[in-house]
């Protein structure tokens, strides 16, 4: 268990970068900042004793997804300055976000403080620890079939959405 301050700093950095990511008018910066958020989340996952998930998050979410985002953005025409100015989110809306954030923080603190949450199973009654890989293959194989289905769907999505209609089809 690391010091609690590490967690606090990580979480506040995650929230800060998330706010930056949504408030930039240029999407490419937003996408890169999202990659940064993802990286911080993966560090956080590592601290929460799930290193394998952290590696997945780091390689897939902050790597692959950023690549997908950047390639989609570069396929499109960047807006000129006038449009960008029009698209910029106004100060009033930003302040609304801040206000809502404070409200939600306060509310969740209140909810969590007012009720006793010590019913959570304690750390010491951990069952004999199973390896994650065994856990996936032995206990969650139904989900693996779901994963196979969704990956096939992804393949067909690419076939349907990215492939150009040939002339033969158009007739």
């Amino acid at each position: 268990m690391d010091s609690i301050y590490v967690h606090i700093i990580l979480l506040s950095l995650i929230i800060l970068f998330a706010i930056f990511a949504v408030s930039y008018a240029r999407v490419i910066r937003g996408a890169i900042l999202l990659g940064v958020v993802s990286m911080l989340v993966s560090i956080s996952l590592f601290l929460l004793s799930s290193p394998l998930a952290g590696i997945f998050e780091l390689s897939v979410c902050s790597g692959l997804i950023t690549v997908i985002f950047v390639s989609v953005i570069s396929l499109t025409i960047p807006p000129d300055d006038k449009q960008r100015k029009m698209n910029a989110i106004s100060m009033v809306k930003k302040m609304t976000l801040l206000f809502l954030l404070v409200l939600v923080c306060g509310f969740s603190l209140y909810v969590l403080d007012s009720k006793n949450i010590t019913f959570i199973p304690l750390m010491q009654n951990v069952q004999e620890s199973i390896d994650t890989r065994d856990n996936i293959w032995n206990l969650r194989h139904v989900d693996l079939i779901g994963q196979a289905l969704i990956l096939l769907t992804g393949i067909f999505a690419v076939v349907v959405l990215f492939k150009k209609d040939t002339n033969k089809d158009k007739k």
């Binding site: 995650i14 929230i15 999505a157």
Partner: protein, 106 residues
Amino acid sequence: MSLENILLFKLYVITMPIMFLIGIYAIMTTKNIIATIIGIEIMTKGVTLLLAACGYFNGRPEMAQSFIIIMIVVEVVILTISAGLIFNIVKKHDSLDTRNIRNLKG
């Protein structure tokens, strides 16, 4: 559970609604289609953190890990589909503006 752990747990639980709110805010206010997807991604990051924290605090991190791994796979597929949709929308409208895709009214 020690007092420090409870505080930590509360911090992780509070992070989720904040991330959710940031995501919803991005979806509601933005005028750019890609920023909508960024908002969804931020919400998903919040859920990832919550799942990991839940696994950590009830002593079954290996189960939470398998959840997160499956979730990331699903997330990537959904993102690929949305990238395909955005690609086609941009080809049709020549811009990323969400105001173009408000022809249909609930």
